[in-house]
Amino acid sequence: MTIRTARPDRVQHFRPRMHCLKKLEAMVVEMQDQKSGVKGSEQKLNVTTIPHVLTGKDIIAWIANKMKTTPEEAQTFSTMLVAYGYIYPLQNHKKLVMCNDSSLYRFQTPYFWPTQKWFAEDSDYAIYLAKRNIRKKGMLEPYEQAHYNHLHEWLNHKWDFIVMQATEQYKAGKERKKPDRVVFDCQERAYWIVNKPPRRTHSAIDCGPERLIDPNTDEKITFDQYRRQNMFYQQAIMRSKVKSSVSLGAVDLPTKMRVERWSFSLFELLSDLRGRDDFKIFLKKEFSGENLAFWEAAEELKWGTAASMTAKAETIFKTFLAPGAPRWINIDGRTMGLTVKGLDHPHRYVLEAAQTHVFLLMKKDTFFRYLKSPVYKDIQKKALNPEAHNFSPAQLEQNANSRSPGIHPIILWQQEEEEKAKAAAASAPVDVKAMMSKIDRKK
């Protein structure tokens, strides 16, 4: 009989790294220090007394003091200690949070601390559930019962061993003194709440899909990888770097106005379509719109579908690059030569050099003239007008709820495509011969 695996084996069995465990352990050890740790007391549970019990607020206060943080942050941190299983709650044991009140908590024994090295084994869980079943039948919660049935099914081949282990542990438990037994039961129960959380609750041990690489071992690097790394480092060393003072100096201060945002850089201006339109108006007045039009066409080529590449490249050549073209762009001879040559075998990035050149032209010259132009100053004046609303929070809520969905992006996109098609048809160079022959035919 083959053992059914719980999920497909993707040859990855390694849990994501839990880098925080070392720091957490150090903190927990400090917390338990006799002199400087958290002060505990005893708790009476029915007839037994449980030692070393702490209240939530003491723990939070100690952490806030130790880490010099606010109580909220201390509460967050201590909730994580509970979620990872270093501290467990005595009342309400299924909810793994730290409450800033007199709720009672205890430290978990190091034997049950979370570790990177191994999972909580399914067979151990089966033994634990079986043991509880022996002690009192029907004491298992519904989710535990479901786990138990599932494990009984797929660990069936080991079941005798599991029952034997459970019986042994049960007998050994009986021999302990009552307070020790109670404490151990609490600890074990807490461990399993953390490692096998009830349905629809989360513990911190849950960390997502497994990884391909084992975080505990060192990489085995082959000679080929070393060689590639060496090449990369040599190239990196040769690459030109900028001084920090130069690079960091270019940090912008934030502003809120959309129009002011355009003045940050040509990129911001072009990214905002409204800004681009404004720039176009300015360019029209200067009779230098072809640079921007070329840049836009090159963008479209870059991001377009693979099928449209040749057609687009041809149109661009005819419109912008061919000698005597209707919207001929003024770039230096070398770039023009390279681009035209590249257009013999057009690909996505064939206009890269020309596009960069045009962009830099616009950036260094036209952009700054635009910022000083009456067009821009005009839009700046207009943009400052709307005053801030002073809606109360309740009014804001109401406004947001009753807001209409607006134009759906799909409809907007369809409209844009239609407009683009119309614009393309309108700006296509007029075929004079066809027009003339039409007129002739009419005659």
Binding site: E219, R227, I237
Partner: protein, 357 residues
């Protein structure tokens, strides 16, 4: 450098040990060179900058609907809609104002770890444990089953950890647990370029917002953040400063720098022109890994979501923490600022998303 060289066998006199030694010394030299140009620290430059005032950011919306951990989300360019994906296999498109669920799609896999909204707003991409990234065109008809028109675009040999459209709907970038990332043509499903260099799972990627938009950065379990050239497939720059897995990478708004979030409980800021790490965002009281980062519109603030259920807001220039945002009841898996910068959305393993403003 002739790339063929790397594939040949060991040359005469070369051993694994000599190569390793050469590698170590080159690495050391690179660090020295980087150090020589380090004539000023970021927080020194920022000394004259005004302190950021107190922030009052509150939860304005809680989006409930997923039945298991929410793993990823992305905003639509209309600043209102957003898409989220979850461990329960569902991908939901929400209206952020009214909380209306506009579309709900079921994937044939659990753990949908990546989702992205297309720039046009007409489609979404998603992928996860199925090792594929699919593009789903959205329709105006809410009764139509969008998932039926799903189209598989990216195919990897391990789980998809991140995906994003480039500047148009036509190309998709994906990164995977198999250690590679790839650029795909959406219409034909063709692989346009693949990027190799990480030595373990890649967990995150981000496209550069630069003028020419030709680079992107990835971060992975090998503790490295690599910058790639989309055209040539080459690894242009590499940064190895973290002490544990890098969970998320995000470009600074100007495109000259990027931030990373890692399991070592720090977020780091890397300058691409100076080719070095320029800031580390850490505190003794922050012990748990950071899963996600995003910048504010101007880049002055860095929002980082952590595994201790909180979001920390950092002052990027001064390197200090400004405030903390509490509210989630489990790990924060993704934070994203809306396109106009007025709201922040966070997705969490507590099955909800929150919109803050």
């Amino acid at each position: 450098m002739n790339p063929k060289m790397a594939c040949q066998g060991l040359q005469k006199g070369e051993t694994l040990a000599t190569l390793k030694k050469e590698c170590e010394s080159l690495k050391k030299k690179l660090e020295e060179d980087r150090g020589k140009l380090n004539d000023v620290e970021l927080h020194q430059v920022a000394e004259k900058v005004e302190v950021v005032g107190a922030l009052s950011i509150k939860t304005r919306r809680v989006l409930k609907g997923h039945t298991n951990k929410v793993l990823c989300m992305d905003w639509c360019k209309d600043k209102r809609r957003l898409v989220s994906s979850s461990q329960d296999g569902k991908v939901i498109v929400w209206d952020g104002f009214t909380l209306n669920k506009e579309h709900g799609m079921s994937m044939p896999t659990t753990w949908v770890m990546a989702c992205a909204y297309a720039p046009s707003g007409c489609a979404v991409a998603c992928g996860g444990l199925d090792n594929k990234c699919s593009v789903i065109p959205l329709s105006l008809d809410s009764n139509e089953n969008c998932a039926a028109k799903k189209k598989t675009v990216a195919m990897h040999t391990n789980y998809i950890s991140g995906c994003t459209f480039t500047n148009s709907d036509m190309q998709l970038l994906s990164c995977s647990g198999d250690g590679t990332s790839a650029l795909w043509d959406v219409e034909s499903g063709q692989l346009l370029q693949s990027f190799h260099g990480h030595t373990s799972d890649i967990l995150s990627l981000d496209l550069a917002p630069s003028e020419t938009g030709n680079t992107f950065v990835t971060g992975g379990c090998d503790k490295k953040a690599n910058v790639w050239d989309m055209r040539s497939g080459q690894n242009i720059q590499s940064f190895e400063c973290h002490e544990s897995d890098i969970n998320c990478v995000k470009y600074y708004p100007s495109g000259d720098a990027f931030a990373s979030a890692s399991d070592d409980a720090t977020c780091r800021f890397f300058d691409l022109r100076a080719d070095r790490e320029v800031a580390v965002f850490q505190k003794d009281s922050i012990v748990f890994g950071a899963s996600t980062v995003d910048f504010s519109l101007s880049g002055r603030l860095l929002f980082a979501g952590y595994n201790d259920y909180t979001i920390n807001v950092w002052d990027v220039l001064k390197g200090t923490r400004i405030s903390m945002m509490f509210g989630h009841e489990n790990r924060v898996s993704r934070v994203r600022l809306s396109p106009d910068g007025t709201a922040l959305c966070s997705a969490s393993w507590d099955n909800t998303l929150r919109i803050w403003a």
